[in-house]
Amino acid sequence: MTNKTVLHAKHLASGAKMVDFYGWEMPINYGSQIEEHNAVRTDAGMFDVSHMTIVDVQGTDAKDFLRRLVINDVAKLTVPGKALYTGMLNEAGGVIDDLIIYFFSDTNYRLVVNSATREKDLAWMTKQAAGFDITITERPEFGMIAVQGPEAIAKVGTLLSAEESAAVEGMKPFFGVQVGDLFIATTGYTGENGYEIIIPESAAEDLWQKLLDAGVAPCGLGARDTLRLEAGMNLYGLDMDETVSPIAANMAWTISWEPTDRDFIGRDVLTAQKSAGDQPKLVGLVLEEKGVLRTAQKVITEAGEGIITSGTFSPTLGHSVALARVPRSVKVGDVVEVEMRKKLVKVTVTKPSFVRNGKKVF
């Protein structure tokens, strides 16, 4: 059974090449993924992310439930609309999924989780909900469009009503606001400014067309992957999964250790890992010569072996970059080797982030 988003016909009309993405028929590109990538870095591009799973968690115990469920602390959220990136762990400290949580009130939160992990996420949340006075409601009746790039906010702005414009005026990064039928958030997966817009399915095609007419380039999953990788953002299933600790996936910054009496799932395991200091870590790798680093290639360092979790050609930089899990003692600036197509090539270790707001950052 292949799912189609509400924008499927729009993709075909724009000449999209469609692929299966975990049961969803999605656009991989509309011709050239590099041109789409560059549109987002220099102008504005949009992605259909309607396949992503929106889950509302509501009820008297919503806050207490989420303080147990995820590694970041939703108690930090006090301003309505503020968003939080975090991970949801199993009892063994492995990452079930990464997600964004939007705060509306202590009894009302919206979660956006990956589509590829939808079923296990919902099953896990439902299981953990026992004893909490909450409701968990999936919201499949919405489409979702991410508009990203230096001109994204201005181009969306030309389409908004006076009420909508007022609602998003001056909104800081990582906030969302419900205004009429639209939920507009300053979140994204590209390292550029922009919005993610949640919209009733009945209105999604019309918004997509208006964005096209406003000069926003339709972009597929291919460009989405090179953009997020340049931005050093993890992709679930490649950079982390249930066998990987958030400490080994550049997600330690999403763990809230304080207060120490907050008993989130996986806390004891993470605490032990932190004191042992033996978890590997996720770093960036840069290859300036010819060739492209790819997922699963072996990394050879003086401290032992590692592995590339995601690699690609960076259209912005003109050479290959990768995220790799390596022994913790490997340092930024080290030169290590990657086994690539029958030969060893030298690569430089960087922080796991390469491009932000169109600029090289390492």
Binding site: N29, G291, T312, F313, P315
Partner: protein, 129 residues
């Protein structure tokens, strides 16, 4: 449906061969192949004077998506390579049968061309994929 010029010969591994008037053969990859690979980012070519045999992996076309070996469809000596691809690998995408040519070979045995597919045969081979 992608373009398959009738004057060329083809290998099932998606290389095309054009016999030039001077008796050399020009080799590239088909429009169908570039479509499968997507945006090209690097091309590795053989060296001039390399001696190659049918089936050797002699070049690599690397796209954003994957690295793909290119096999010699004929035997001979490499007499020219397309140096423009160094700075413009996207020529393989935009002009697979023209500006995206890879290298030229002085043939050891022109009768090898008869072992390759014609346009009809190549079309049938990709329809089966």
């Amino acid at each position: 449906m992608s373009n398959i010029p009738s004057e060329l010969k083809y290998a099932t591994s998606h290389e095309w061969v054009r016999l030039e008037s001077d008796g050399t053969a020009t080799i590239g990859i088909t429009e169908h192949a570039q479509g499968l690979l997507g945006d090209m980012v690097f091309v590795e070519l053989p060296d001039i004077d390399d001696s190659i045999s049918v089936g050797d992996d002699v070049a690599v076309a690397e796209s954003v998506k994957a690295a793909s070996d290119i096999y010699a469809p004929v035997s001979g000596t490499v007499v020219a390579i397309n140096e423009e691809l160094e700075d413009a690998p996207e020529l393989l995408n935009s002009d697979a049968f023209g500006g995206g040519w890879l290298f030229k070979v002085k043939l050891d045995d022109a009768s090898e061309l008869e072992n390759l597919l014609d346009a009809e045969g190549y079309k049938n081979s990709i329809d089966e994929d």
